[in-house]
Amino acid sequence: MVYLNSTFYYHDSRNSIPLYFVKGDLTLRKWIQTAKLSFLALLGMALLSGCDKSNFIVLNPKGPVGQQELDLIIISVILCAIIILPVLGIFVYIVIRYRDKPGNKAPYQPEWADSKILEVIWWGIPIIIVAILGVYTAKTTINLTKPPVKDVKPIVVQVTSLDWKWMFTYPDKKIATVNYAEIPAGVPVQFILTSDAPMNSFWVPQLGGQEYTMPGMAMGLWLQADKIGEYFGSGANFTGKGFAHMQFRVKSVTQDDFNQWAAGIKKNSPALTDKGYKQLSKPGLEKELSFSSYPKGLYEDIVNKNGGTYYDHMSHMGDMGSQSSMSSMKMEDKK
């Protein structure tokens, strides 16, 4: 309580000037007042613009992968806050109480520089916090390598980052798209990522976190949309001149709509030829495009020609590749 009083005392005597101020002259004080006000105004603006929660797409996931990552984010924020907030409080308290000014009655012990108990406490607490967060991190990391739901047959979408566009190939449907992808809602999607250009990163924030697309590598990323909708996707790793324009759209639709969409593309869109791919892979921007077919083994060729023969990709793709192609064959049978 005594401490609290002394806090007030400081506030009163110094006209609420930030406490680490020694001898502020008048103009400076005024200036700081305005600075504070404008800072608050700016903060207000920031909050207002942030009011639209839907803008914070990372905090507003639409699928189980993004949700798990958000859970981890929240856990980590809470664990960090457990340390940060008290420490900030202690900091403010100490700075106020032990200021060097005449008449300060607070104890002064210039030789006190050691305390085993205190040391144990502040080595111990962070260790405990890190241990807890470590466990959650490990759990989530392992979870994300598996399909988000077990009982639904996943589909495979192959992703190739080019300069400066995204190509999606559907091995089950044998169709290809550029700068947009459609996926069925509620179905786990195994995106298999590679690049035929400098490495990029494939990121659809509302479905889940990103993964690099790299030449010569084929790496799996599980994502899933729970509801139908349109999600923003972008390249996250710098690739040069046109990088800022590498956005794409991921549209999640019902399974029936998805099948219909694929059938429509099969029927109405042009084919992607070898020559066409060569043209497509040249540096430049592109609109959204659809192709009814693509050269056989295009994706594997892309991976292999960039050094894919030197790596073992199965560990990255998991064993789901064969299963999903089986499932898609069944789907085709139904038609």
């Binding site: 603006m45 920031a46 798990q68 104890p107 012990q109 990391t141 040069g240």
Partner: protein
């Protein structure tokens, strides 16, 4: 490709810069010639081997580079302030963020750090110089000419534009032809060799040059931080050197270390560069921690709390920092197990760092806190670094990082730890030791303007960027809302962030003004102990004489000077007639500068792929090395009479010693 035109053209801003660079150069040359200063420049500065002067040159270079990097930052923020901006073209923006990052880390933070190493360490450990004064001069000139080589890319040849760590294959010939990327390689390579030598120099200085009575366990914490940082330099700068050599081999000789074709492996670059890059971050932050320890103890008038714990935590940080590099690319698909191990190692490094914060707080606890300029920056550091550290732990959780990676959340985080941790620390160090090297204090009032503009500017600039990260904005995009019809609502926060950047810029201008103003009007330090300090550097006059200590000081424990002052106050010190002895000092030499010029020539030649010039430069380097090896007359003695004369001129030596209450 750009070989057709040697000079960079096509942008009015570049023409403007060219003109101003030319004018400034002409002005400097005119000034030096008119006032007949060339000889002075050569004798007093270029050929100097005095660690204090080298430190001053590092400091000036660092501030110049802070200006250049800051201008880059402002240009980027102007471009991003509004959507669909056409202020900068894509390539130009890419060049600017590349040079901003490279300059701020390698040509601003590193020399600023070396400035503090040079200015403080020998004084603090009671030494008359560093272990290798010649090598020290080589280090500086390698850094300086490396930095100059990097900076002239602005005018000739074109700037690099593949990012500050230049991931291949983007940085390979196929995607980044021309001299720009080579400038990046050679600028860093040359200055990096200098950094490595500085590392060796300070490890040996601290281990071998301490005044004989100073035990390691009584050594001031700043010197400890320099030791741990230097050891980390030894561990990782060779990796950087080799990694850059590999990229050179790829680009110059058609090699395939990191190419997409012929079996090259770009992922190897990402690993190697971060094996250097991550410890590098700790290399620059550890000395800042050292500064905080000194400043907090001095201005709390109290011993540093938990000294052993502080030393242990610094060593722990420099060791664990070797095992965290993968956290820069959790998203490269290394596999769950690898990610978990590196995630946890990264979190572990937060523990000793957190312990240090507690120790600083409890140094202030039951102390008497004087809020001076250095202390102000330390107080700004504590909350800033706490939050930055917390977001670091958030980033360390690998799956969460999948969402933060390469987004503005990451940008906000590392600026918060690098500005809040490193820059604040170096600025605190600059204010703290400025009177020691120059003999006068920096003006408080202007300093406070600078301080508050920096503080407010910092939060206004970077807090919105955390939010932008959550809104899905990725780094290194030169424009938004411009294609595919996406409006993600990024505009207002970007606008605010730009305002913050300007505030920091104005803050920097105030600091420059403060320095210029104080040269004439700053409070003079007549005692040598203007802050009532605790460590040996405050026991000698400001500025320190060339030989630092006329008599090597006797140290009886930690905070040697503080307790010596107490003894003096009690009258326990008997004034004995001191008997001086001649002091052995190294001679000035022009070889380091000439050798570095040859390095510059070599780097320039290889940058433009003019092999004849590159090889000629390297031969020049070898010849200067030989010339040095044949130099035997490399030192001299300062005679006793001269020492006596200098020492007599000291006034009020150690008279100030106030205790609280």
């Amino acid at each position: 490709m750009q070989n057709s035109h040697f000079f960079v053209t096509g942008d009015p801003m570049i023409y403007g810069a060219d003109v101003s660079i030319a004018l400034v150069s002409v002005a400097i040359i005119f000034y030096l010639t008119y006032f007949k200063k060339w000889g002075w420049l050569w004798r007093e500065w270029i050929t100097t081997v005095d660690h204090k002067k080298i430190g001053i040159m590092y400091l000036i270079s660092a501030l110049l580079m802070l200006f250049r990097g800051g201008v880059d930052a402002i240009l980027m923020r102007i471009q991003l302030a509004v959507p669909n901006s056409h202020f900068l073209a894509s390539e130009h923006y890419n060049e600017i963020f590349t040079t901003h990052g490279t300059i701020m880390i390698l040509f601003m933070a590193m020399p600023f750090m070396f400035a503090l190493f040079n200015i403080v360490v020998p004084l603090q450990i009671g030494a008359r110089d560093v272990a290798y004064p010649f090598l020290n001069s080589v280090s500086f000139w390698l850094f300086f000419l490396g930095a100059m080589l990097f900076n002239i890319s602005f005018v000739v040849g074109g700037s690099p534009n593949a990012g500050w760590l230049s991931y291949p294959p983007l940085s390979e010939n196929d995607f980044s032809p021309g001299p720009g990327q080579n400038f990046w390689i050679w600028g860093i390579q040359i200055s990096g060799i200098g950094s490595l030598m500085t590392g060796i120099n300070f490890v040996v200085t601290i281990l071998k040059m301490r005044t004989p009575t100073m035990r390691l366990r009584d050594m001031p914490l700043f010197s400890w931080s320099v030791l741990s940082s230097s050891i980390a330099i030894l561990g990782v700068f060779p990796i950087l050197t080799v990694t850059l050599v590999m990229l050179t081999i790829d680009r110059l000789l058609g090699g395939h270390f990191f190419t997409m074709t012929a079996g090259g492996n770009p992922m190897m670059w990402v690993n190697l560069i971060w094996m250097w890059g991550h410890p590098e971050v700790y290399i620059v932050v550890l000395p800042a921690f050292g500064v905080y320890s000194e400043v907090v103890a001095t201005f709390s008038r109290k011993r540093i709390f938990g000294y052993s714990s502080m030393v242990f935590s610094m060593i722990a940080i420099s060791v664990v920092s070797y095992y965290t590099w993968v956290h820069h690319f959790f998203t490269m698909g290394a596999g769950a197990n690898v990610n978990i191990v590196f995630a946890i190692c990264t979190m572990i490094i937060a523990i000793p760092t957190g312990v240090k914060v507690f120790n600083w707080l409890f140094t202030m606890y039951r102390g008497r806190i004087r809020i001076t300029q250095p202390m102000l920056w330390v107080m700004a550091f504590v909350p800033c670094f706490l939050v930055g550290g917390a977001t670091g732990v958030m980033l360390a959780a690998a799956p969460a990082d999948y969402q933060y990676h390469n987004s503005y959340f990451l940008i906000a985080h590392f600026h918060q730890v690098l500005i809040g941790g490193v820059v604040f620390g170096y600025i605190a160090g600059m204010y703290y030791w400025f009177p020691k090297i120059f003999g006068f204090k920096l003006n408080e009032r202007l300093g406070k303007w600078g301080f508050w503009l920096w503080q407010i500017g910092f939060y206004v600039c970077f807090m919105p960027q955390y939010a932008l990260g959550f809104m899905g904005m990725t780094r290194r995009i030169y424009t938004y809302n411009d294609s595919m019809g996406w409006d993600m609502g990024w505009a207002p926060l970007n606008y605010i962030s730009t305002i913050g950047a300007f505030l920091m810029g104005i803050g920097f201008i105030f600091q420059v003004w403060q320095i210029l103003y104080s040269i004439k009007h700053g409070e003079r330090d007549v005692t040598g102990d203007i802050w009532d300090g605790r460590t040996l550097e405050w026991s000698i006059p400001s500025p320190a004489p060339a030989y630092n200590f006329a008599i090597l000081p006797v140290v009886k424990g930690r905070d040697a000077w503080w307790y010596q002052k107490e003894e003096m106050q009690k009258g326990n010190v008997h004034k004995e007639a001191v008997k001086y002895e001649p002091i052995h000092m190294p001679n000035n030499t022009g070889i380091p500068f000439i050798m570095s010029v040859f390095w510059f020539i070599a780097g320039f030649g290889f940058t433009f792929e003019w092999m004849w010039m590159g090889i000629a430069g390297l031969i020049g380097v070898a010849l200067t090395l030989f010339a040095r090896s044949f130099q035997y007359n490399t030192d001299h003695y300062i005679p006793v009479e001269e020492i006596e004369k200098t020492e007599k001129a000291r006034k009020n030596y150690g008279s100030v010693h106030r205790t609280a209450n």
